[in-house]
């Protein structure tokens, strides 16, 4: 008799999803799917609203990466209204976005992913979580909670509200940075950089070597990649051109304003979430594990794969070590965790660079804006991947149309492929254990921010 397994909800991820696995009469893999169950309709309900209000509305797409939506939206509105932010406004935005990345990666690595690696994928689910880590390694847990809180409170204290930010505004930023604030944040970000370096060392010594076999096999698929690079080809999180790389390492670069010429979104009857794919490759879309078509990946591993180099010295040293081990592009899905920690180092170094720039305290933080008819695409790298907000406005500056491609969705196709691959490799003759099902979930967790 055939059997259906429902893993719902997928836990220790940021959002609502489930996995269904179908087994045949012999208890072997027949098919599997990752479903995104949520449909809220932001693309519809922002219509008619004053564009300058959108940055405070669309941040509610995600409570984990609200800064990303807030800032991509501000960039899109700047374009619609034909205004460039002041230099200090631009830098304050990038600073907030970079520090938000630094916070998110600590949260993901220690709170969401680490239980699989530190407690172990087969451990009792009752202890395989952050509480279990707190009991198993109280000193490290206390340090983690403290450091993450430190970073989060930098954002909260300076910008006044960090879950659902308010301080980014069309034309720049709502408040300048005072010199004492700059010094205080700089000192704290130096501590966070030290912790980032500790974390990547800890993972390279104690975590990754233990799971080398899993890294080489679990959820491994072969796809293209997308990410943002600066004009010199170096990795960037906040601004630059988009680079779409094929699995063979060849790539095209393009301006985010032209995204619709390169990317499409496929709809499957069983998922509310849409599936972005590389329309420009002219090979259509297929969720075939062995011969995927149109599939590329976004998020940490994608960004360090498409980049020629990292723009900061410590992160570049880490990238060189990573590439010497895994090549370019690296395809193994669990390497997302490793790439995440390289980006953590970058985010801290970059935040320090911005804070050392004297212009960051310039009080001229906001250019005056006037509503008008226009179109604008705003793009930043969110933790989960390239985030695109595309708006049109009428003469009164009201939104007439919006199209959003959200970071998570780029990886919906790849997550499906990784789960199919993992389920096919792990389930045989009807043998299903909690440990096996958790390993299959780990193939999804890797793609989380």
């Amino acid at each position: 008799m055939s059997q259906t397994i429902t893993i719902q909800p997928i836990t220790r991820i940021e959002g609502h999803a489930s996995i269904k696995i179908w087994l045949d009469e012999m208890g072997n893999f027949s098919d599997a799917r990752v479903n995104y169950m949520s449909l809220r309709g932001f693309e519809k309900f922002v219509e008619g609203k004053p564009a300058e209000e959108l940055p405070d509305i669309v941040c509610r797409i995600c409570g984990i990466c609200p800064w990303m939506h807030h800032l991509a939206s501000n960039k899109a509105v700047d374009r619609c209204f034909g205004v460039a932010p002041t230099p200090a406004g631009h830098k304050l935005r990038e600073l907030m976005q970079t520090i938000a990345h630094a916070e998110d990666k600590l949260l993901h690595f220690y709170f969401l992913a680490a239980p699989d690696f530190v407690i172990g994928p087969d451990a009792d689910y009752a202890v395989r979580n952050v509480v279990g880590i707190a009991k198993a390694n109280p000193e490290l847990a206390a340090q983690v909670v403290k450091m993450r809180y430190l970073v989060k409170m930098i954002l909260d204290k300076f910008s006044r509200k960090t879950i659902h930010p308010i301080a980014g505004v069309p034309g720049g930023f709502s408040k300048p940075m005072l010199e004492e604030e700059r010094k205080d944040i700089l000192e704290k970000m130096r501590q966070v950089l030290d912790f980032a370096l500790f974390t990547i060392d800890f993972a390279k010594k104690n975590v990754f070597p233990k799971y080398l076999e899993a890294i080489k096999t679990l959820g491994v698929i072969t796809t293209g990649f997308i990410g943002t690079v600066d004009p010199s080809g170096a990795h960037n999180l906040y601004d630059g051109k988009l680079r779409l790389m094929k699995a063979d390492g060849s790539y095209v670069d393009f301006d985010a304003q032209d995204y619709a010429d390169y990317l499409g979104e496929h709809v499957e009857p069983w998922s509310y979430g849409k599936f972005p794919y590389a329309r420009v490759w002219n090979e259509g879309f297929a969720l075939d594990v062995d011969q995927p078509r149109g599939i590329y990946r976004a998020n940490t591993l994608a960004r360090i794969n498409v980049a020629d180099r990292m723009a900061t010295p410590r992160a570049q040293a880490e990238l060189e070590e990573f590439r010497s081990l895994f090549g370019r592009p690296a395809q193994a899905t669990l390497l997302y965790h490793y790439a995440r920690l390289i980006e953590e180092v970058y985010a801290c170094e970059r935040a320090i660079e911005i804070l050392e720039d004297p212009e960051i305290t310039d009080p001229n933080v906001r250019a005056k804006v006037e509503p008008k008819a226009g179109r604008g695409v705003g793009c930043v790298e969110a933790p989960r991947g390239t985030l695109i907000h595309d708006y049109s406005t009428d003469a009164n500056g009201l939104v007439t149309r919006a199209n959003l491609i959200v970071g998570t969705t780029h990886n919906l196709g790849p997550m499906n492929l990784s789960v199919k691959q993992a389920a096919r490799a792990l389930i045989h003759d009807g043998q299903v254990t909690e440990g096996i099902l958790n390993r299959i979930e780990m193939a999804v967790r890797a793609y989380d921010p």
Partner: protein
């Protein structure tokens, strides 16, 4: 054994859950007295059992159930009903749960109109039919939690401040009553109000409000509504700043958008604000999009497709 806590997120963004984590080191204190039996963001507890082979959705029993997010589809409804059945006390956490929140802005359109747009954008390969295979069907609207199940405690906020979440959990653990503010944002705002009715129009938030120096204290800045900005402070519940009290938006020198919902649970931010403006002689036609005054509280049938149709006809 401590107080058992279950937590669920429905039509939500996970910001409320991150606000729980943002208690920081206090979270470790909470974990000493609370057993978290279910929270999808952090703990591997499953609806259909650890092997995914059970037929019916089931949650563990708990003393306190936190629900964030509104109720938008059949699955949200099923989870909410199961939470009500298994939890002694239900807390609606965050403005989506208490009033529908930002996702209830969709209530100005029908579900079909919403899906029509989502599945036909410039980059979307338009399907012959909207996705439905094995998916929870949408309800007609995004509902606040108390439209479907009884709620015992309301903790609005987008998200609620970590201090509010912490104070609520401490009160529950100690069995003490929870004090909920009935003040408005204005009641806790330090800016200078002169109360002169010279203003005739509200203006859009396209340039910074006036203040004299980057470090000028808030209690020397003129009230933003009196500066002509559409600040929702008069009709919005106080508390976004937590124990520090000062409203967050004002301290970033931006107007309040109303994210904690109405001052009284059953208030109507749109009508209350129009009344407040009209009684001060301000032309309410100067507001560019009136349904936006309900951007955080469009549940409870306050935003409806008919409103939109009336507006456009």
């Amino acid at each position: 054994m401590g107080v058992r806590v279950a937590s669920e997120w429905l039509n939500s963004c996970s910001g409320c859950e991150i606000s729980i984590i943002d208690m920081g080191e206090r979270l470790l204190d909470v974990l000493k007295v609370a057993d978290i039996v279910h929270i999808p963001a952090l703990v591997d507890s499953k609806y259909f059992g650890p092997l995914g082979d059970q037929k019916h959705l089931s949650l563990p029993e708990a003393d306190v159930g936190l629900i964030s997010g509104g109720i938008r589809n059949e699955e949200h409804l099923e989870v909410a009903l199961e939470m009500r059945k298994k939890c002694k006390i239900i807390i609606a956490l965050g403005t989506c749960a208490t009033h529908g929140g930002i996702p209830a802005m969709a209530n100005s359109w029908t579900s079909a109109q919403m899906m029509e747009r989502v599945y036909s954008t410039e980059t979307t390969d338009r399907p012959e039919a909207f996705p439905a295979d094995g998916l929870p069907p949408l309800l007609d609207a995004c509902c606040a939690v108390d439209e479907k199940i009884k709620v015992d405690i309301y903790l609005p906020g987008c998200p609620p401040h970590p201090d509010q979440v912490f104070n609520a959990l401490v009160a529950l653990v100690q069995g003490k009553p929870l004090s909920v503010s009935n003040k408005s944002v204005c009641d806790t705002c330090p800016t200078v109000r002169k109360g002169k009715g010279e203003l005739k129009q509200v203006r859009r938030f396209l340039q910074a409000p006036h203040y004299n120096a980057p470090d000028e204290p808030l209690d020397q800045m003129r009230c933003l509504l009196e500066q002509g900005l559409l600040c929702m402070g008069p009709v919005t519940r106080a508390g976004c700043g937590g124990d520090a009290v000062t409203p967050r938006c004002i301290s970033a020198r931006v107007p309040c958008r109303g994210c904690s919902g109405p001052v009284r649970h059953e208030g109507n931010q749109l009508l209350d604000m129009l009344n407040a403006l009209a009684s001060n002689g301000i032309d309410i036609k100067s507001i560019p999009n009136r349904p936006l005054l309900l951007r955080f509280s469009g549940g409870h049938s306050l935003l409806k497709p008919a409103i939109q149709e009336r507006r456009s006809s």
